[in-house]
């Protein structure tokens, strides 16, 4: 049927598209509005109420305006989580995953295919592993009598206790391990697009490898970099399971990023309105980060 209409259309000018032709889409639209837009709007509304599962705000829900937000800005626990979220996102996402992913992509470019295959399998394997499993693997690796300390013991080196002394760094490492594959794959694909002639002519002009990277490769990769950075930032902001399994946000909230803080408020204390407000703030942080990246992109890249 499709072929018939297209041949007929090519013969004569396109008829005016009528609304009625969109009728088959209607059920989809209704369902989307009902099950996607509805809950989204409801949760935005919740953020401005005192809806709770327990105590005050459970017997009757009332509209409280910006109270949840002012309460968040007045609470030290919120700022603690905010700071930790920024640290976690910068260390594990923006710096760790991007730099390591770029390094791997560059190194694998000239590597023999069997090295590419093995490295690719290992890195992508870490990415495929479910978040909870990755969290548990890292917990068993870093914990007091975990494998890392056993290795250090064998080498007669002092043992570590990062899960307790530097929990946010420990979960950042785990997240770098888990998420590097994405950056590596993105950059590998982008590097494959760069024609070798460019590099060769630069080499003939006498540019060393570092100069070639800075002046040729990096500018050509800028678009891929920005896309990868934006996606990584948004993913890292919302990491929950990995941290929950490894440290539960502890000890005493030293690794409680905003998603964990939100979970504690909404589901451990039943403060649904306040928890939803935190979720909106998290969404806002993601939005600001995305806008910032878009601003950094030069105009010619946005076409």
């Amino acid at each position: 049927m499709a072929t018939a209409t297209t041949s007929a259309q090519s013969a004569k000018p396109r008829p005016h598209i009528r609304w009625s032709r969109g009728m088959p889409m209607l059920p989809t639209l209704v369902i989307l509005l009902l099950f996607l837009a509805g809950p989204v709007l409801y949760s935005v509304y919740l953020a401005f109420t005192n809806r709770a599962l327990r105590g005050e705000g459970a017997s009757e829900t009332s509209f409280v305006g910006l109270d949840n937000f002012t309460q968040a800005f007045d609470t030290s626990a919120f700022w603690n989580s905010f700071t930790l979220t920024i640290i976690f996102t910068l260390v594990s996402g923006v710096i760790g995953q991007t730099v390591l992913g770029m390094a791997l992509a560059l190194l694998l470019r000239r590597a023999p295919s069997w090295v590419q295959a093995i490295t690719g399998a290992v890195v992508v394997g870490a990415w495929i592993v479910p978040e909870v499993v990755a969290g548990y693997l890292w917990y068993t690796f870093l914990s007091e009598d975990g494998s890392l300390n056993n290795i250090l013991d064998l080498l007669h080196l002092p043992s570590q206790d990062w899960l307790i002394s530097a929990p946010i760094i420990a979960v950042s490492f785990a997240n770098i391990w888990r998420g590097t594959a994405f950056a590596m794959l993105t950059f590998s694909a982008a590097l494959a697009q760069i024609s070798p002639e460019l590099e060769e002519s630069a080499q003939i002009d006498g540019a060393g490898p570092i100069r070639r990277f800075w002046s040729i490769t990096l500018p050509l990769l800028r678009r891929a970099m920005m896309t990868a950075l934006m996606l990584i930032t948004l993913q890292t902001l919302s990491v929950f399971g990995l941290i929950y399994v490894m440290t539960g946000g502890g000890p005493s909230a030293q690794s409680q990023t905003l998603p964990l803080y939100m979970y504690e408020q909404a589901f451990s204390y039943g403060q649904l309105g306040y928890g939803t407000a935190i979720a909106l703030l998290l969404l806002g942080i993601g939005g600001i980060a995305a806008l910032a990246y878009l601003r950094v992109l030069p105009k010619e890249d946005k076409e």
Partner: protein
Amino acid sequence: MPDVSRRSVLRFVGGAVAVAPLTACGSDHANTLRISYQQFGSGRVMEAYIKQAAADFSKNRPGTAVELVPLVAAENDYFTKNELMMSSSRTACDLVYEDTFILESDVAAGYLRPIDEYISKWPEWKRYHAVTREAVKAEDGKTYGVPIATDTRGIWYHSEVLEKAGIKAPWQPKTWDDLLEAARTIKRELPGVIPLNIYASKASGEKTSMQGFEMLLYGTDSTLYDEDQKKWVIGSQGFRDSLQFIRTVYSEKLGPPLSSALDPNLAETAQNGWFPKGEMAMMIDGSWISRAWLDDGPGKWPKATEVVKLATMPTQRGQGAGITTLAGGHSWAFPAKAQQHDLAFEFVRHLCSLKNLSEVTINDRNVTTRTDIAELPAYKNSSTFLPFFTNLVKDATYRPALAPYPQISTAIQVACEQVMTGSRSPAQAARAYDNAVIEIVGRDHTTKEA
């Protein structure tokens, strides 16, 4: 329909059966009673108890059915699921299993209805210990639940280990100093043995608040919540002293190593690892932990009944009654939005008949809330440790489990963890707690200790 294969019919029926449990409480069947309870881990005692009672109950009442709604969840998630169901008349069960920890919060939220009119006509009610009857009363003075079982707390000690350190059983500290002195003696005489476990990390959650901190605080002259003024107490000497006790235990290395103390699995490690192996001498812990040492438990330990002994937790300077114990437990409660309150209470009377309740209490090795069950030989002989904990019930303190309690409890855990790790002094941690409480309940609901 001869052309329909038997298999497809079976498949359809199978599908219907699989879907049936998903439709939770709240269909409009008159005379079907729905009852929700927590199903966590592998224990099936509760389920068997309700099923058995339900079968008898419907037998005597033709046309009445009881539907079980197990909520498979760990503690916090169970509270949440239960509250979500109670918040609508379409999903509210007729009877729910409520932890005393959350009972008053749920009353304040309007989820539950008072049952005074029913218990006034129920002769068995006076058999419940006065403290357990108080525990199911809310701020408004009305009763909201029928206690099923309770639990109390004390000091479990490994008599062989204490013996080696030169402390003869039966041992009973009279003050906090006696307890610390015993711990120091063990440390001195038996290097490598952890003298005492007292929960003090945020990861241990409510264990830290109840088995740890509150066992200390309620043995001082201060309290957590002023019942007369209906306000949360801040700036109290007892609070600082309790934190100081925890600080002393961990700074003198009388407790577990910090890494283990901060681990969420500390309880299992201590109860089923160190303690049975004789690597830990004393634990301030709850009445239920001996279940793990039974033949079908995760930490099977046949010698437990011979070597494990119990001491009561002393008050700070031996003041007052000289002992402190906190009690918790569960009760049957009645969602306000359910339809069949009369029938639900009928069923509770049946569930709590002497025969039914004593059986489940004995099978589950719980501490009973009732004087008549406490007297039964079958109950007394069901466990070596049970009589000790049953005796504590009459003097037990219940937590001020009001709506803000879960958050205040977390603030307590944070304070304990700060002094345990030494990141703050007891005075600093207590001040941080005071600020946290003001943040949670508002300054008007706090009172400074004179």
